[in-house]
């Protein structure tokens, strides 16, 4: 290292340390968001330059001369050697989604500091390591998927375990994300109108790019974006005209049924008609909005209103239940570490990498970018007045539906707020009420509206910016719902096809209809249950989603560990053992607590018992309103408890298999990793 670069990195470290000290140690006066960004970016640079480089050079031993699948199978289509910056953009667009935006917003109930610390530590030592290691392994295996790699390196049983895990996470992800949309749109004619408009706009774009101007992506996207903007602006008129507003003022259950029906229709329609154009719009809008938000935060440099640590650090917060350990680490999944990324890092990206030297930029760097998105979400949630934050994220069961009462309850928690403030924020963003809009998206939208309107347009545009943020989230969540339902359908067909072979034919129309219906029923069940859940749904479902996501990350990191042992790199295997161990401890503890905890707020079984005892005594417990609702709560509790238990069991089974395979690899003197290409064409022993 030259003197110049020593000075440079020394400077980055000092700057990061100063920024971090300001963020972590300031008490009593608001901290500027810029310090949070500076601290994070310095940490990212240092981690990228030193830790990631150590992993690629020492642990992986990447070989820039080794042929990658992009060259070996070059077909100009799936396998194409691609410029690293282009591929970085592709990879980032594929991993960025609703997760890093919602998790940090929910975690802000404990204050911005605990969540931020986990996002930073998590991404450096777990998330980015996972993404990069899976990408590296898949690149050395012709771009094989995670499931295939687990099968070839660890055998069919762990492969099946991972398969079940992936199907479960898919179902929960779809349900939770759809719930976020429902909670953002219920009783909001402006938002509902704008989001509904995306369907005819997408159909128009689909027809345009199929028949009028085939394949003109830029043209159709610009037309779509302009129409979308028009719908967004006209939405205000809709919401202010009672006769039209009545059409678009929908209740939660109605919206849930519409989304379930939509998911079904969208997944059986030809892709070019609805899914593809929607995907184009949402991808560009997503990346564009993230860039815009980053610029706005740097220009506006807002102060963080939320305290560094709030009293809810003890686990009694209203947005989600549970203490810091393990539930904070479950709540912020994406942004710190996300198992979902292991599916994407073993998807299309490894088929386009030019050489192994670029794995660090794309795998590790891509995840660092996603983590920065999570930090921006944390900032957006923290620039809102804490009283408003808690009004938005507490269920009506806790704070009621009257602003006066809500303000009183929230002030009694120690976050002084007046009823006027709650109604004024609602009026500013063009909504009737902002209370109990759980799910993170509306909170993020209020935060983004406050930052973006400070950047452009001032208070007059706050309503437009708020609904723009809602539209941006709803659009890409609904695209995920379409695409996810298709993936779910395939997995169900694959699974059921083992018993009924005829069901495997994915070209059959009837199979598709049955498979899609089954997929929609599965996630729709959890969605509907969440929507009618008197506790607000997010309270119940988000921890399940987080557990599932971290479970998948644990599975992926166990695979990485096994492969490192097989490559005879056990000396360095702590790089993946450390995060894998942490995630196993977190998910198993969370899973078991969700099943066994005697606290009804945390444990599903104790909650069920509390309610079934009341049913036996003929009593109705709030927030349920009738005995039949009570029985439904009990049933749902047992379903959720079963799921949480299954997650914990899957992780434990994978740990055992991982251990067995590491021992086996230790006992073998040669490299037994099943790689393709390079000098080491070793055959696996499974």
């Amino acid at each position: 290292m030259s003197l110049q670069s020593k000075l440079l990195w020394g400077g980055v470290s000092v700057l990061g340390a100063i920024a971090f000290a300001i963020v972590a140690l300031t008490r009593g006066e608001p901290v500027n968001a810029a310090w949070l960004v500076i601290a994070s970016v310095c940490i990212y640079f240092i981690a990228y330059r030193f830790y990631a480089l150590f992993i690629t050079s020492k642990v992986f031993g990447v070989d820039v001369k080794r042929q990658t699948p992009a060259y070996r199978h070059n077909d100009g289509l799936d396998y194409v050697p691609t410029n690293r910056y282009v591929l970085f953009g592709h990879h980032f667009a594929a991993i960025a989604g609703a997760g890093p935006l919602v998790g940090p917003v929910l975690a802000a109930q404990m204050g911005y500091l605990p969540g931020t610390l986990w996002i930073l530590a998590g991404v450096v030592f777990a998330g980015a390591v996972q993404d990069m290691t899976v990408l590296f392994m898949s690149t050395r295996r012709d771009g094989k998927s995670l499931g295939d790699m687990i099968r070839s390196e660890m055998g069919p049983v762990p492969g099946a375990i991972a398969g079940i895990g992936i199907l479960l996470i898919c179902i929960i992800v779809l349900a939770v994300l759809a719930l976020v949309v429902v909670n953002a749109l219920k009783g909001s004619p402006w938002g509902t109108f704008a989001v509904f408009c995306t369907i005819p706009i997408a159909l128009l774009m689909g027809v345009y790019s199929r028949f009028f101007r085939p394949g003109r992506i830029a043209e159709m996207s610009v037309i779509g974006a302009l129409l979308l903007l028009a719908a967004l602006v006209y939405g205000r008129t809709v919401s202010e005209t009672p006769s039209m507003a009545a059409w678009f003022t929908l209740s939660g259950p109605t919206l849930a049924l519409i989304i379930i029906g939509y998911g079904f229709v969208a997944s059986v329609l030809p892709v070019w008609l609805l899914l593809a154009p929607r995907d184009y719009l949402s991808t560009f809008l997503k990346v564009g909005t993230i860039l815009l938000l980053a610029i706005a935060i740097l220009v506006v440099r807002p102060d963080l209103q939320m305290a560094a640590v709030t009293k809810f650090i003890d686990g009694t917060g209203p947005a989600w239940a549970g203490s810091v350990f393990p539930f904070l680490f479950i709540t912020i999944a994406c942004g710190a570490v996300s198992g979902w990324h292991s599916l994407i890092s073993s998807g299309t990206t490894p088929k386009m990498i030019e050489n192994e030297g670029q794995i660090r930029l794309i795998g590790y760097g891509g995840m660092l970018m996603e983590s920065l998105v999570a930090i921006m979400a944390m900032i957006s949630a923290s620039v809102i007045h804490p009283g408003v934050y808690f009004a938005m994220n507490s269920s009506a069961g806790l704070i009621g539906t009257d602003p006066g009462h809500a303000a009183q309850v929230i002030s009694s928690w120690g976050f002084a707020v007046t009823p006027d403030m709650l109604t004024q924020v609602a009026r500013e963003v063009g909504e009737k009420t902002i209370m109990s809009r759980t799910g993170g998206a509306p909170t993020l939208a209020v935060g983004m509206a406050s930052i973006l309107s400070g950047f452009l347009g001032g208070k007059a545009l706050a309503g437009i910016w708020y609904h723009f943020a809602i539209l941006f989230e709803a659009l890409f969540i609904l695209t995920t719902v379409d695409a996810g339902t298709r993936v779910c359908r395939f997995m169900i067909q694959d699974l059921v096809g083992n018993v009924v072979p005829a069901f495997k034919a994915t070209k059959s129309w009837s199979n598709n209809v049955v498979g899609s219906a089954a997929a929609c029923v599965l996630w729709g069940y959890f969605l509907y249950q969440g929507v009618i859940d008197p506790l607000g749904g997010i309270w119940t479902l988000w921890p399940l989603f987080g557990t599932a996501n971290q479970m998948l990350a644990a599975i992926a990191l166990i695979l990485c560990t096994v492969v490192l042992f097989k490559m005879k790199k056990q000396r360095y295997a702590w790089v993946t053992i450390m995060p894998a161990g942490w995630l196993v401890v977190c998910t198993v503890t969370a899973g078991l607590e969700k099943v066994l905890s005697p606290d009804p707020a945390v444990g599903f079984v104790s909650h069920a018992l509390k309610f079934s005892n009341a049913v036996a005594a003929g009593k109705v417990l709030a927030p349920a309103k009738s005995l039949s609702e009570m029985s439904r709560v009990v049933f749902n509790d047992y379903v959720d408890a079963t799921l949480a238990g299954v997650f914990a069991a899957l992780v434990i089974a994978m740990v055992i298999y991982g251990f067995i395979h590491c021992r086996k690899a230790l006992g073998t003197p040669r490299n037994t990793a099943v790689e393709i290409g390079g000098g080491l064409m070793a055959a696996g022993d499974d």
């Binding site: 070059n74 077909d75 100009g76 289509l77 799936d78 194409v80 691609t82 410029n83 910056y85 282009v86 591929l87 953009g89 592709h90 594929a94 991993i95 960025a96 989604g97 609703a98 997760g99 890093p100 998790g103 771009g143 998927s145 499931g147 295939d148 992800v173 994300l177 085939p214 394949g215 992506i217 830029a218 892709v271 070019w272 899914l275 593809a276 995907d279 184009y280 991808t283 560009f284 990346v287 999944a333 994406c334 996300s338 979902w340 599916l343 994407i344 073993s346 998807g347 299309t348 890409f476 695209t479 995920t480 695409a483 996810g484 298709r486 993936v487 359908r489 395939f490 994915t506 996501n549």
Partner: protein, 71 residues
């Protein structure tokens, strides 16, 4: 000086366009054509329209390893 600047600006523009197109699953068409012409000169090359449709179907084809944006 100005010439190198324009060449560079054009290069950056091309990269941005390529990135945006790859984000929605459509790789560079010219690269595909060059590949077919040099590696498989005796075989037909898809027109841009066919290429676009093929890529669109492939991106959303139900199958393994087709996971995208979620969290």
């Amino acid at each position: 000086m100005t010439e190198t600047f324009t060449t560079r600006a054009r290069l950056v523009c091309d990269l941005v366009t390529q990135t945006a197109r790859l984000m929605v699953g459509v790789p560079d068409y010219q690269t595909y054509v060059t590949h077919r012409q040099t590696q498989h000169p005796d075989q037909p090359v898809m027109s841009y329209q066919e290429f676009f449709r093929e890529r669109q179907d492939a991106r959303y084809a139900v199958g393994k390893g087709r996971f995208r944006g979620c969290c």
